[in-house]
């Protein structure tokens, strides 16, 4: 019964998904593009923060280690929605305070930059834990051998630790990427025009809720299944030459 009603409704409203202006398809695709851009930026920023955090947690001094522990604990204990609001206002305020103190005018920070910065800080906390575990799984003998060869810490990280830990880290990083793509939806709450927000606007204007939310769901699904496939391929490539883990 519901399925029938839903299907009938969907058939009559499918025209609304057309790309040309009477349809809202172009808006959805633009939202998807924004979502992907924010995810990529946040994931990249998270990787940078996470690599620094992981090395800091493993090889840093006691103060640095404790500070990083506070960072990862707090970020993982507070909902992303709350963090996004706090960081958004805090970052905007801080930038404007600095600008004002140097005699410049206030600026409005773009939603894209703010979204990337905020989600990147959140991703960084999770990436720290993933990469720390992956680095710890690198055989100690390999690192000791590199040290015995007189490699500097930077060279050691670049030639030995990072390539070896990649195969351990990729499954966790794949999960993080999926979380990044889905967390961009939270930016809809602060009114940024990514896919979920664009969908709600289109659905609200046309009252065709099922059509638009299902279409957006399909786009997200294609994104996540496609990138899952890419990560599986990358992992296979990173593991080449290593013995099979599963029997």
């Amino acid at each position: 019964m519901f399925a029938l009603v839903g299907a009938a409704e969907a058939a009559s409203t499918l025209d609304l998904l057309r790309l040309a202006p009477p349809g809202w398809g172009a808006g959805l695709l633009w939202g998807l593009w924004n979502s992907v851009m924010i995810s990529l930026g946040a994931f990249g920023l998270g990787l940078v923060l996470g690599t620094g955090g992981a090395f800091g947690k493993l090889y840093g001094g006691p103060v640095l280690r404790d500070l990083l522990a506070v960072y990862t604990t707090v970020v993982r204990a507070v909902p992303e929605l709350v963090l996004i609001l706090i960081l958004y206002y805090a970052v905007t305020d801080a930038v404007n305070q600095i600008l004002l103190s140097f005699g410049y005018a206030r600026i409005q920070i773009s939603g894209l930059a703010a979204g990337i910065a905020v989600l990147g800080v959140v991703q960084g906390a999770y990436a720290t834990e993933v990469l720390r575990g992956a680095i710890q799984a690198v055989p100690a003998g390999q690192i000791e051998a590199a040290r015995a060869m007189g490699m500097s810490p930077g060279l050691l990280a670049r030639r030995v630790t990072l390539p070896l830990m990649l195969s351990n880290a990729l499954p966790g990083l794949g999960n993080l990427w999926l979380i990044a793509t889905k967390d961009t939806a939270l930016l809809a709450v602060v009114g940024f025009a990514e896919l979920t927000q664009a969908t709600r606007q289109a659905a609200g204007a046309t009252k065709a809720y099922f059509t638009f939310f299902m279409a957006a769901g399909l786009l997200y699904l294609i994104l996540s299944i496609g990138s899952g496939w890419l990560f599986a391929m990358a992992e296979r490539r990173a593991r080449r030459g290593q013995p099979e883990v599963r029997g």
Partner: protein, 260 residues
């Protein structure tokens, strides 16, 4: 507790604790907290609603996750395929989208159907929280169903064969051997999943359910304060998370960790 040992209180940690204390005193003294007494009853009710939503969706979601995991692990294809599709769709789309699909979609569909409007359930279906609870439950079931699939598969075959050799009926086998061992394997990850579920609850504020997040938003609208309600909100969530972590630690310590 590690917190009360001498090894924990190294000099740099004492300094850090003092800095944190200083920040707390500074924010108590200079930020505005005069709105707090007025909104306290609402806040308590909001916290209660958050916890209630989390617990209800955990229990209902787990009850759905067990058949989902079982169907994927050993079910025939006509059960395994839909279960796998369900888990993929739930895990592949944002919870916010699912929530809005259910609330706006079903919410606009139901009033058009006469027998639903006339049924006794209508006063409940007109409110927002059933849709929030449904979305949270389905989401948890999707994630946990995947975990349960792995757990069911990881129970050693010998255990099940032994039960079969004893002539146990299939359902007794599930109840006495398969399910307890699978749940035992899931327990260490369940604490983390519970925290994730807590962090998902503020999304229901976007469909007008008044949880603690919605109360904080209302304070922000009424008083034009930016940081104070948000900071309090963060502290509340951290406190609940700490409570969950302690509870699971206590719970795990009471369970035997060695499985045959």
């Amino acid at each position: 507790m590690m917190l009360f040992t001498r090894a924990f209180w190294q000099p740099h940690r004492i300094i850090m604790a003092l800095i944190v204390l200083g920040i707390v005193i500074w924010s108590a003294a200079t930020l505005r907290w005069d709105w707090l007494p007025k909104y306290l009853p609402q806040a308590v009710q909001g916290i209660w609603r958050t916890i209630w939503l989390m617990l209800a969706s955990l229990v209902l979601g787990m009850m759905l996750a067990i058949p989902l995991g079982l169907a994927q692990a050993v079910g025939p294809w006509f059960l395994a395929w839909p279960a796998r599709a369900f888990c993929t769709v739930i895990r592949g789309t944002p919870l916010l989208l699912q929530l809005w699909l259910l609330y706006y979609g079903l919410g606009s569909l139901f009033p058009q159907i006469p027998w639903i409007r006339q049924s006794d359930l209508w006063p409940i279906l007109r409110q927002a929280w059933p849709y929030g609870l449904l979305a949270l439950t389905l989401s948890f079931a999707g994630y946990e169903g995947e975990v349960m699939r792995g757990a069911f598969k990881s129970v050693p075959k010998g255990q099940l064969e032994a039960a079969k050799a004893m002539g146990m009926p299939r359902f007794t086998m599930l109840r006495r051997i398969w399910l307890p061992q699978a749940v035992h394997r899931v327990l260490p990850t369940l604490g983390g999943e519970t925290v994730l579920q807590l962090k998902a609850t503020p999304l229901v504020a976007t469909i007008t359910v008044v949880d603690i997040y919605a109360v904080a938003s209302r304070v922000r609208q009424d008083t034009f304060l930016t940081y104070e309600p948000l900071l309090l909100l963060a502290v509340v969530y951290m406190a609940i998370t700490g409570l969950i972590v302690l509870l699971f630690r206590w719970f795990e310590a009471r369970l035997p960790s060695r499985v045959a």
